[in-house]
């Protein structure tokens, strides 16, 4: 409420469907609470703002013993072909059941609310992703720019 807005800085480093939600949920909520928000997308996290990929993010069942399953299921079987699409389908149906927005919809909510989004330049370089592949409004910069923003933040999170 004071003169100066509160600020939150988030690093989003994961590119799975489940881990794409936490940074965007926190960002959209903080923006609704009049907090200035910046998300720095790095490594696999860049997929969240990649137009070609962000509507088809996946959940990996392997090495994820918390993944709910309709039947008891040894985790190692997650290596079998078709297990990742199956886990992803299950997660999507759970998301739908609670009326959660999709990742592109939630991103749009964040952008409309003025959340600053930055994609990490070395990741783009490394993966051959162009700025044109990114959702409109996403800036590109490196660690220095994120730190400049985060040094004045009240909350800093690494997801």
């Amino acid at each position: 409420m004071g003169e100066k807005k509160k600020r939150m800085a988030i690093i989003a480093s994961k590119g799975t469907l489940d881990m794409a939600y936490p940074p965007l949920i926190l960002a959209s909520t903080a923006a609704a609470m009049d907090v200035e928000v910046g998300i720095f997308f790095t490594l696999y996290g860049v997929d969240i703002v990649n137009k070609k990929k962000n509507h088809s993010l996946k959940v990996a069942p392997i090495a994820n013993p918390a993944m709910p399953s309709p039947i008891p299921f040894p985790n190692i079987l997650g290596v079998l072909p078709g297990m990742t699409p199956m886990a992803t389908m299950m997660m999507k149906s759970m998301i739908k059941k609670i009326n959660w927005p999709t990742i592109p919809e939630l991103l749009n909510t964040c952008i409309e609310a003025g959340v600053r989004m930055i994609a990490c330049t070395p990741t783009l370089e490394m993966t051959g992703v162009n700025k044109d592949d990114l959702v409109g409004g996403v800036e590109v910069a490196g660690a220095g720019d994120f730190l400049d923003f985060a040094l004045d933040a009240d909350i800093s999170l690494f997801v």
Partner: protein, 79 residues
């Protein structure tokens, strides 16, 4: 409070975090100062979440009631 006192009514029933907070803030932003927004939500966290958002954004929560698992908020837009 009575529904008829609200200038705007927002239905967030069936929606889960973060949407009730996000939609409530969007509705507040589209209103005039002094107007009253009525929000209905079924998200069990909505009472704490919407209360926090309203307080943090300098608006006023006039009343919250819970009936049949539906929270009804009366929010006065201040700023």
């Amino acid at each position: 409070m009575d529904r008829s006192q609200a200038n705007t009514i927002l239905d967030c029933k069936g929606l889960n975090c973060p949407m009730p907070v996000v939609k409530t803030k969007k509705a507040i932003d589209s209103m005039q100062s002094g107007q009253i927004l009525l929000v209905e939500a079924t998200d069990k966290g909505a009472k704490a979440d919407i209360t926090a958002m309203v307080k943090r954004t300098g608006n006023e929560l006039l009343e919250v009631e819970e009936k049949d698992n539906v929270f009804t908020f009366f929010i006065k837009k201040i700023k």
